[in-house]
Amino acid sequence: MCMPASWRSRIFRGSRSATNELLSLVNFDTGTVVDTLKVRDAKDVEEVVRAAIANEQPLEIIGHGGKRGIGHAMATNAVLDVSALNAVTSYEPNELIVTLQAGAPLADVLALIDAKNQQFAFEPVNTAPLLGTPVSGTIGGMIAAGLAGPRRIRAGGARDHLLGAHAVSGFGDSFKTGGRVVKNVTGYDLCKLLAGSWGTLSVMTEVTLKVMPKPEAERTLLLRGLDDAVANKAMTAALGSPFDVSGAAHLPKSAFRARTDGLGDIVGQGEALTLLRLEGITASAAHRAGSLRELLAPFGTATLIEDAASAALWAAIRDVLPFAAGGALGAWPVWRIVCPPASGAALGTQLARETGGDLIYDWGGGLIWAALPPKPDAHAPVVRARANAVGGHATLIRAAEEVRRDVDVFHPQAPGIAALSERVRASFDPKTILNRGRLTRSAG
């Protein structure tokens, strides 16, 4: 879509925008020149969105732009860049909260809270290795994508840790929702909608997130050589135990065709690996590891991996390193399938058999990362059919742009839910100014 010739000047005519940095950049995805508006504060965002409404000019919202490859190509070449809204508004370790501008770099924020021995308990996925981008992104991107790591099963996702937000809607108005306390039922919880909305509802400008203490110790039990079905049973047994398992993943043997960075020595003979994590105070983690090992005896003798080695392992699973863009399967499309955990293995083995793909199971079977051999449709019909059969859903996280042109990246929904979702979206952004076309092919 072409930018109206007047676009630039309209932005500059705004009362505050004379000092906006209006940058021309090359869009490396398409090779075309786009206009990027780098805003400094929420007022700038309001102004740009209002001007966009007036011109019926959609905007693509980016932080560092690391996740631009997820979703459909957006029906615009005007980019609203919030990366300069990067301040830490406040960090109160004793309150277990941090308030950040949406453009704050995730890596910096993780370092900040790590210095106080705290973390985002939902283990946000760093998509950079998987997508082959250089940056781990911003806090706003982390929430908008809502991709949670292995601890999702115990601590919830981004949606469970977003306590409050300031955002600019597609009406061009700044609004707030939620608050700066954990326990809050005042008004509708719009935070839930913002998390995982891929920037289609509002432009977040400031968010308050819950932080949690880092566990003192972690222990991982490793079982070798289980097939997917048996591994699923072992994970189900572990998650149904009172031992407070905070990670349950299975890497079938085939996953190691690919790059195994981060998995270190444990890959060993290339057998399948089933991993179960226990965290907490040292005595407790060690004790529970012992109890869980007994419980899992019917599945084999588990070996123990401790602390730093264990952490590296879970980071590799969180960031899906076996399917990294720089690895042997870097050219394969990657699906993220979420399903009832006990259905994981049946879904996965069938999918692998039908496509010749490789899988990684997380969340006790409830999350499957599937790297499938390249194909123009990325095997979408079979992936979606298998996911639907168990009440799950699948997102095409990584695929070439020409594939994404023809395949629904996000899971098609039942008509009633799709219609309600569209009404919800329009209640925030009636003119579809924000990230138009990212979620659905038809809307573009």
Partner: protein, 497 residues
């Protein structure tokens, strides 16, 4: 009690007999209640200061009936108020004179227990506690535990996003529900989520949870269940100053310890509770903390030692540690009975529910003391101290002229103070009608308009539970109107709607 509800629709009231007949055609037999005597049981919820008999009560027992009722009411422009067990403390289920009260009490069946996926699929009328009881034989439970869990329904829990003592560690309702079947005001039946950890698309389940019956009527819920912790022990720690107790709470959290529960009571609450249940509470302290640690025994024992050391360092004057389940339960008995205990020392009380940042606790208590002087009314305070959720109980006598008004003004000032200190109007009881008119103290008109636009996406006619949560009702067309910002709209002369 002066609270303005939406004006009654006289045309609807004039057609009452016809409406009752139509509802009887959908729900035969005793499912439609229309006599004043029988409707009395439904005229208020847990916020008993407000009473209003509904036009008619209907108690469907299938999703299809719910759908037909809503479809009929939508077509006829009749307001509907959903109700679970009626234990709301904020008036969320207060009937409307010209409204149908839709009770979900007959949805009492647990539909499926799935231990492998660690979920229970239940109808909304099942009580919170009944879910835990249904899975207890396998060592599981449903974590959120509002104090009313014997009576409150899981559907009501979803509507209010209920919390409880243990939500510090295990989350509120919203963190423990995965999916639902919901009927929109149009009668459309939708299924959202299910047994997966997260849903596709926008998190509709997340925004429905805590929507106080304004977005839809839930007819089925899928909740997560957890394995019960191996053991639990509690400490009961007394302090000569409230500030020291607040500091103790902050240091425990700061040390990276998240207790299963961490409750605080002030002196009036301690005395009332002790007189009622004789739990052995120290009577010479200004603040009492009950701190429960749960998990494997080895962990609990270790954390008890750590917490005890922190309490000592904060200048605790008494510290008892439970050595048996009986003792732990005794520690809790006083706290759990705090509300009825206060009921014994005062003819009436108002239970407030604000949240503040933990660090503002001493400041908030000082303010409450000042306000207590100003309004000449006593106040006993119990808190979910771990997450800053205050429950001041304002003591008054409804038979004394002017006291209820003073008590309500006192309560409103406490909630305004919560917002002033960086907190919120309600931590777990909901806005309902009780805090409705305070919403502008926390949210701007723009904030509230965005919320009400969302309501329009679910219920464009505004027929479902109107008069709750929002102080001003707007027509959806008005809310959807695009602002014209200083003439910036291109072609401003072209009509856009």
């Amino acid at each position: 009690m002066a609270i303005m509800m939406p004006a009654s629709d006289q045309a609807v009231l004039a057609r009452r007999a016809e409406i009752i007949a139509a509802l009887r055609a959908i729900v035969p037999g005793e499912g439609v209640i229309d006599t004043p005597a029988e409707m009395r049981a439904y005229e208020s919820d847990g916020l008993t200061a407000y009473r209003q008999p509904p036009m008619v009560v209907v108690l469907p027992d299938t999703t299809e009936q719910v759908s037909l009722i809503l479809k009929y009411c939508a077509a006829q422009g009749i307001k509907v108020v959903p109700r679970g067990s009626g234990t709301s403390l904020s008036g969320g289920a207060l009937p409307l004179e010209d409204g149908v009260l839709l009770g979900l009490g007959k949805f009492k069946r647990i539909r499926e227990i799935d231990f492998d996926n660690r979920v229970v699929v239940t109808e909304p009328g099942v009580t919170n506690l009944a879910i835990s009881q249904a899975v207890a034989h396998a060592g599981f439970y449903y974590a959120p535990d509002p104090s009313s869990q014997i009576a409150c329904s899981i559907g009501g829990n979803v509507a209010e996003n209920s919390g409880g003592v243990h939500c510090l560690k295990y989350g509120m309702t919203t963190n423990n529900v995965l999916g639902c079947e919901i009927v929109l005001m149009s009668g459309e039946i939708l299924r959202i989520g299910g047994k997966s950890a997260e849903n596709a698309g926008y998190d509709l389940m997340g925004v429905i949870t805590g929507s106080e019956g304004l977005l839809g009527v839930i007819t089925e819920i899928t909740v997560r269940i957890l394995q019960k912790p191996e053991t639990a022990r509690a400490l009961m720690v007394g302090f000569a100053q409230v500030e020291a107790a607040g500091e103790c709470v902050a240091r425990i959290i700061g040390a990276g310890i998240i207790p299963g529960g961490m409750e605080m009571m002030d002196k009036p609450a301690i005395h009332a509770a002790e007189a009622f249940v004789h739990a052995g509470y120290p009577l010479d302290v200004e603040a009492l903390l009950i701190i429960e640690l749960d998990g494997p025994k080895i962990e609990v024992d270790e954390l008890i030692t750590r917490v005890e050391a922190i309490a000592n360092a904060c200048g605790s004057t008494t510290c008892q540690i439970s050595t048996s389940e009986a003792e732990r339960n005794l520690f809790w008995a006083g706290r759990k009975a705090a509300f009825p205990a206060v009921g014994r020392i005062s003819p009436d009380y108002l239970c407030m529910d604000g949240t503040i940042p933990r660090g503002a606790l001493p400041k908030a208590l000082a303010r409450i003391r000042e306000l207590s002087e100003k309004y000449q009314l006593g106040c006993a305070n119990v808190f979910h101290a771990g997450d800053g959720n205050l429950h001041p109980l304002i003591l008054y006598d409804a038979n004394k002229p002017g006291e209820i008004e003073r008590a309500e003004a006192f309560g409103a000032d406490i909630l305004r103070a919560c917002v002033e200190f960086g907190g919120v109007l309600t931590g777990e009881h909901g806005v309902g009608i009780e805090k409705r008119d305070l919403m502008p103290d926390m949210f701007s008109e723009i904030d509230l308009n965005q919320q009400q636009r969302l309501k329009c996406a679910f219920d464009a006619q505004g027929l479902l539970n109107p008069g709750k949560v929002f102080p001003t009702l707007h027509r959806c067309a008005e809310l959807g109107r695009m602002h014209v910002h200083a003439g910036k709209l291109a072609f401003p002369d072209i009509p856009r709607f």
